[in-house]
Structures are given as structure tokens and as C-alpha cells.
């Protein structure tokens, strides 16, 4: 057991005891040593179930959506990426900040590839921070996209074709994504021409492309889509492409920060480039 975990449990215990929150979303151990799962703690006696270690990788923010209409606050343990997910959901008008109590957890020990390019290891918003802030690191978020761009069009097509040929359309990437918060996803709707339900490469590609466009200007780069993909499709390589373009065209752009900046597709400037035309 580590210091932070102890402190985290104490904090949660206190929050439940003084009725600040109705319950807290955190992580708990599983029967696998290297896996944790989301835990929903509503009884202060249960706080010892909470764990904090390098296996606490699942994103928690979206679980709060189940409580969109509830009374009273809920607590969420937020790492950098979780806090940005919360920001995302607040910006997308899906959550109200005042209904949330955010327990910030600086995060520097995860061993996933996706975390190498993390630029916000400390929560960007929180109500209280457990542990000391960690050092932020510089990272080239778009290095992989650059490599892709260097390939020929046909190479790129083959790359995505072979990836999407594996897709089983489980929609896990959508379900975990904090930017995917439509009440009725276009992919679930029974409309002719909207999104074919067939599981073939063409339809999978259409799904991939459309999802990318739908979330690309709001992606918080948590990488959950890639983590949950059972077929190992590098999903975020698509959204990061869009983010790279946005960064190049409209200046530094990171989503899910409490800076009040509108998604680029929700605004325009008279001087936007025409050069693609």
C-alpha cells in the first residue's frame, strides 16, 4: 500500500461521512494482479476497496453520465485524462460541474504506450488533490501521425483497410470515448444510408472515418479508444491526425482544458485558409 492510496481512502471516507458526495467512482482490485476495475463506493466502510497503482487505467468520467439527472453530488477520482474527460463532458453540456466532486490524482506511473505522449499528467480541474503534483513532460503528440503522412496514399489506404478489416464493430471505442456523448449515436440509428450495420471492411471504414470526424475536433487524447479495442486498431491515430491539422491551421489546440475554447468546428474566422480549394 502506498501513501497516496491511504490518503485517497481517507479522503473518500471523509467525503462520504460528511455527505459531500453520494458515492465515489474510483478503481478497485480484481483477481488479476495487473488489472483493476471501476469501483463505485457509497458506503464509507467500503473505502478500503479503493486502490491506486499503475494498473488504474480505465477512464472513469463517462460513468458519471448515468447520473445526469440525479440529485446531489458524486465524486470521481480524476487523473489528468479523466479531468479532461470531465471538462469535455461539461463543455458538451452533458454534466454540470456543480454536481461533481473531483478528487485529483497526479499520475506518472502508468506503463501504457499511450501515456508516453501525455501532456497533462496532473488533473486540469479538481476540488482537492491527493498527493503532490508531478512534473509535466514535453511530448510530440503527433510523431506517429507524421510517420503515417509520410506514406503514400495507397500505403495509407492499405494500412487502414487492413486495420478495419479486423474491426468487429463492438463500438467499445465509442462507448468509452468521453467525446462520444450523443444520446442517439448515428451508428445505432436505423436509417437508410446513414451507417450500414453490415460488418464488412467498407462499412467498418465508414464507421471509423465518421467517428473520427465526429470526435476529432473534441478529442482529449486519453487513448481509451485504443486501449479498449479488442482488435488492436490504432483508433487515436485517426483523431490525432485531425488534431494535428487543427493545430497547424488554427494554432495550439488541446481539448478538454478549462480554457473555454469552443470546438473549432463550432466557430470560424473570416481569414480561415482557402488553400485546400
Amino acid at each position: 500500500m502506498n501513501d497516496i492510496e491511504t490518503k485517497l481512502r481517507e479522503t473518500v471516507k471523509r467525503l462520504l461521512a460528511d455527505h459531500t458526495v453520494r458515492y465515489v467512482i474510483g478503481w478497485e482490485a480484481t483477481r488479476f494482479e495487473d488489472k483493476t476495475r471501476p469501483a463505485f463506493i457509497s458506503d464509507s466502510a467500503d473505502t478500503d476497496r479503493l486502490v491506486w497503482n499503475k494498473y488504474c487505467v480505465s477512464s472513469l468520467a463517462k460513468y458519471a453520465l448515468d447520473e445526469q439527472h440525479s440529485e446531489g453530488k458524486i465524486g470521481i477520482c480524476v487523473r489528468g485524462c479523466d479531468s479532461r474527460a470531465v471538462c469535455r463532458l461539461i463543455e458538451d453540456k452533458q454534466l454540470l460541474r456543480e454536481n461533481l466532486y473531483l478528487i485529483g490524482l497526479p499520475c506518472d506511473d502508468k506503463e501504457m504506450n499511450i501515456c508516453d505522449t501525455c501532456t497533462h499528467r496532473n488533473p486540469v480541474i479538481y476540488d482537492e488533490l491527493v498527493g503532490e503534483p508531478v512534473l509535466e513532460r514535453q511530448a510530440d503528440r503527433f510523431a506517429m501521425v507524421g510517420l503515417m503522412e509520410a506514406m503514400s496514399a495507397d500505403e495509407r489506404y492499405s494500412f487502414w483497410e487492413s486495420n478495419y478489416s479486423k474491426c468487429i464493430r463492438c463500438y467499445a471505442c465509442r462507448n468509452i470515448c468521453p467525446a462520444c456523448n450523443c444520446r442517439a449515436c448515428y451508428a445505432d440509428q436505423e436509417r437508410v444510408g446513414w451507417q450500414g450495420k453490415q460488418m464488412n471492411t467498407a462499412q467498418n471504414q465508414i464507421y471509423g472515418l465518421t467517428r473520427t470526424y465526429h470526435v476529432g475536433d473534441r478529442c482529449i487524447e486519453c487513448g481509451e479508444c485504443e486501449r479498449v479495442c479488442p482488435m488492436m486498431i490504432p483508433v487515436m491515430l485517426q483523431t490525432r491526425k485531425m488534431l494535428k491539422d487543427i493545430n497547424e491551421m488554427f494554432g495550439d489546440y488541446e481539448c478538454g482544458l478549462p480554457d473555454g475554447r469552443a470546438p473549432v468546428l463550432g466557430e470560424y474566422t473570416l481569414g480561415d485558409a482557402d488553400d485546400f480549394m
Binding site: I206, Y213, D217, D245
Partner: protein, 146 residues
């Protein structure tokens, strides 16, 4: 992915044209009896901003060889600001399509005003030539191609 181009193959090109500028420009090209290739089919929309980028993907999937989105020049939008949104949406969409392996010439956007009949003719002619050169689109296509 190589396809044998059928004898006499003609590309199918879909053009989304806004009612107030480009569609009017296309009508004017007709009034002036300008000539251009037959392979462009115009779908009329009130404003280029009505075009959901999904329509473009759908068109490729269903077998279009090229897609054009045309609207009023910036500042001239009948609905004041629509084309500024169009510009952003399709700027990003075009890059995304390219990233996914679609040739940049297959999806193009243009500003054509109601008086620019010649520009409409030239655009359509040029796009048609470019797509002919590229051959039938097989990327993203459904069923019989994949």
C-alpha cells in the same frame, strides 16, 4: 486493388451545389449554352453548410468516383456565415480523407458565385478530367469491390 477500366467507362461525379450561388451559376452556364462533360450530377442544397460530411463518405462508399462541394464565395453567403462553416468542415474532412488514402482530387471544394458560369464549367471540366485520369474509385466501396 487494380481494376480493369471498362471500355467507355465514365466517372460519376456528385456535386453538392448551394442554391444561391453555385446552382445559379450552373443554371447560368446552361442559359449561355456552355458545354461541359456529362458526368457531373448536381444535388441542390440550400447552403453548402447543409452538406453533412457524411454525405461525402456515403457517396464514395456507394460508388461515386469524385465529389464536389460548391458554395458562395466567403462573405457572399446568402445565409451570411454558412460557407465559413463549410470551409472549416471540409478543410478538415479533406485532409482526413487524404490521410485515409483517398486521392486529393477525388474530393474537392470550390467557391463559385451565381455569375461565374464559366468557372462552373471550367471546374466541372477539370474535375472530370482529373477523375478520368485517376480511374474508378475502389476505396471505401461496398460489396462488389471489396
Amino acid at each position: 486493388m487494380s481494376v480493369n477500366i471498362k471500355e467507355g467507362w465514365e466517372p460519376k461525379i456528385l456535386a453538392f451545389c448551394c442554391n444561391w450561388c453555385t446552382y445559379t451559376g450552373a443554371d447560368l452556364a446552361g442559359l449561355n449554352r456552355m458545354k461541359y462533360p456529362e458526368n457531373v450530377r448536381v444535388a441542390r442544397v440550400p447552403c453548402s453548410s447543409r452538406v453533412n460530411p457524411q454525405f461525402v463518405i456515403r457517396a464514395f462508399q456507394k460508388g461515386c468516383d469524385g465529389v464536389l462541394v460548391c458554395g458562395c464565395h466567403p462573405g457572399d453567403c446568402h445565409y451570411v456565415t454558412g460557407n465559413y462553416f463549410t470551409r472549416r468542415r471540409f478543410m478538415l474532412m479533406k485532409k482526413l480523407l487524404e490521410y485515409n488514402g483517398i486521392d486529393p482530387n477525388r474530393f474537392q471544394a470550390r467557391w463559385i458565385s451565381g455569375s461565374e458560369a464559366a468557372k462552373f464549367r471550367d471546374t466541372v471540366t477539370r474535375v472530370s478530367e482529373q477523375i478520368k485520369e485517376l480511374g474508378p474509385n475502389v476505396k471505401f466501396r461496398e460489396g462488389r469491390w471489396s
